[in-house]
């Protein structure tokens, strides 16, 4: 398979990672190697095999429906890189 530079660009955009143009060839080569490792999976016969998403076949237990969380707004916002009036600041989205 070919993990070309366009695929890297498209994937980086989906992942919201601004890869500089200069890094794209090297990343394409590394991803090509990793996908080359993974490629052998295609040859395995998995006809009729169920998918496994999780190790334990457990029903999700429900906890009692009681109030447990309390107002922690200030604590939760303490690590914000930019905040004002209890709100996260981001660049203007609508002109």
């Amino acid at each position: 398979m070919a993990f070309d530079q366009d695929t890297v660009r498209r994937t980086a955009h989906l992942a919201r990672i601004a890869l500089p143009q200069t890094e794209i060839p090297a990343v394409a080569e590394q991803l090509e190697r990793i996908m080359g490792l993974v490629e052998e999976l295609r040859a395995i016969d998995t006809m009729g095999v169920l998918t496994m998403a999780h190790p334990l076949d457990l029903d999700q237990p429900l906890r009692p429906d009681t109030v447990g969380n309390h107002d922690q707004r200030e604590l939760l916002m303490a690590s914000a890189p930019a905040a004002e009036h209890g709100l996260f600041l981001v660049p203007k989205v609508i002109e």
């Binding site: 990793i34 999976l41 190790p55 890189p81 981001v90 203007k92």
Partner: protein, 490 residues
């Protein structure tokens, strides 16, 4: 024997008999950390004043008549466990200044027992790595040979325990991150059955694989830690209702009649001959104690690494989507717009290996590739689990090497991500299946590097693994060997 070499049981006895106080013990280890950490880089953050306050509180509890196996005993957490009031970095620039608003359940439970936290331990960034070289804070060095890697991702934990900076530490294991560094640093570490130890407050890498566990200098110390760490937690929806157990209860059971399976796939090409020989000698010791050995097959184990490198990056790409530069992470300066803010912050905040794995995960989950990679890998995961199911119908414990080679030099595998991924060739299948596995020291190479033997058990057979390891350690001395370290450099 010096204080920093004591086991948990010996430390408790010393505290009970007032040979030393928790404050004295804590002070001794803090001094050792300040002398040795510059050469090892095992700690990212040392919390000296908090530690001394916690030690004084533990001494007060003891003076008031309280006792407990962990009361007043120092430890440190892998910097993936959230600690209220102390930064939790995951060894990433992304979280360099992040202070969690709450404690992980594991942190809370150990603190409630009176353990004294000395700080936070270095690791591969977001637990992605097998050499501790992806850390934003620089690599950890192996205490047995400081030109060698300690393994990863819990490399800081392994190095700190091996060097006697702490008697025990926490680690996490997604594809071998407790067992592989334990093997490379000559200590004992267990990845419990998935669901034993709460993941609440443990920063997620691949949620269906991640599991926390103890790293210590012997199996009994692991059992003492796991007795507190393993518990059902309503705050983690994947926590098992029967997670808690008394892991000390069966520790001394004789091994007479134990059925040991040795997988052919673990002794093939790529296995270092010194590692193979040490593990075979380890198996012979189990036989000497009454175990029977048979050869078994895990035919899908050779597919474990490729399966993992679809599923783990897929889950990681989803879990790490939360780091957006807006709420509590690194933020790029002067972004052009909101998308640019996300993209620049994530490029700057994540290191190269983390970015690579996010890209792989995004790719295998993207339209047109999902069935070919993600779905396929989930099916092969079923086959890997079936291999273990069949094996455990015939044997009680599976034994093999933890790693294909002993510790390798810093920088040796940095140019090729795939070469690094193969360092976990014997540990990954266990995480895919969700079963427990333990690594313990079973010898040294001629160059003086530790070798680890891996014990794998059926679901919830964690106690059996600790039992086998404990009995092995009653008759062998490998776990008592200590690296020689000089303060200020080695």
């Amino acid at each position: 024997m010096e204080l920093h070499e004591f086991s948990l049981r010996e430390l408790r006895r010393g505290l009970q008999e007032r040979d030393f106080s928790s404050v004295e013990l804590t002070t001794t280890l803090l001094k050792r950390i300040s002398a040795l950490n510059p050469a090892l880089n095992a700690f990212v953050t040392v919390t000296e004043s908090k530690a001394l306050a916690a030690a004084a509180a533990a001494d007060a509890r003891r003076a008031a008549g309280e006792d407990g196996p962990l009361l007043g005993i120092p430890m440190a957490h892998k910097d993936i466990f959230c600690t209220a009031g102390v930064r939790t970095t995951c060894a990433s620039k992304m979280l360099e200044h992040f202070v969690a608003p709450y404690n992980a359940t594991v942190v809370e439970r150990l603190a409630a027992e009176g353990m004294v936290t000395l700080g936070k331990l270095n690791m591969d960034e977001f637990a992605m790595g097998s050499s501790n070289e992806t850390s934003y804070f620089g690599p950890v060095r192996n205490p047995w040979h400081t030109d060698m890697v300690p393994g990863g991702s819990s490399g800081g934990s392994a190095a700190a325990v091996a060097a006697g900076l702490v008697p025990v530490a926490t680690g996490t294991d997604t594809g071998g991150s407790i067992r592989q560094p334990a093997a490379l640093c000559g200590i004992t570490g267990i990845k419990p059955t998935y669901g034993r130890v709460s993941r609440y407050g443990m920063i997620a890498f691949a949620s269906s694989l991640d599991q926390g566990g103890p790293m210590a200098r012997n199996a009994e110390d692991c059992a003492l830690m796991l007795n507190v760490m393993a518990a059902h937690d309503p705050r983690d929806s994947t926590s098992h209702p029967a997670a808690a157990s008394d892991f000390l209860r069966g520790l001394d059971r004789p091994l007479q009649g134990l059925r040991v399976g040795v997988p052919e796939e673990f002794f093939g090409a790529g296995l270092d001959p010194e590692v193979a020989a040490a593990v075979q000698t380890g198996i012979a010791e189990l036989v000497r104690q009454g175990a029977t050995v048979q050869s078994i097959r895990l035919p899908n184990n050779p597919h474990a690494v490729s399966t993992y490198y679809v599923l783990a990056p897929a889950e990681a790409s989803s879990n790490l989507a939360r780091f957006d530069g807006v709420r509590y992470t690194h933020r790029a300066a002067n972004p052009a717009d909101l998308t640019d803010l996300y993209q620049q912050s994530r490029y700057e905040g994540f290191g190269a290996e983390v970015r690579r794995r996010i890209l792989v995960g995004t790719y295998v989950l993207s339209a047109g590739y999902y069935d070919a990679y993600y779905r396929k890998a989930q099916q092969v995961r079923s086959l890997i689990r079936e291999d273990f199911r069949r094996a455990f119908a015939e044997v009680d414990v599976i034994v093999g090497p933890t790693t294909p080679t002993p510790a390798f030099p810093l920088g040796a595998k940095n140019a090729d991500p795939v070469a690094m991924y193969l360092a976990d060739i014997y540990t990954i299948a266990v995480n895919l299946a969700g079963i427990p596995a333990l690594s313990l020291p079973c010898g040294f190479t001629a160059a003086g590097l530790p070798i680890g033997m891996q014990l794998m058990g059926d679901y919830f057979a964690d106690d059996l693994l600790l039992n086998v390891a404990h009995r092995y350690q009653q008759e062998t001395q490998w776990h008592r060997a200590r690296p020689s370290l000089q303060a200020g450099g080695a």
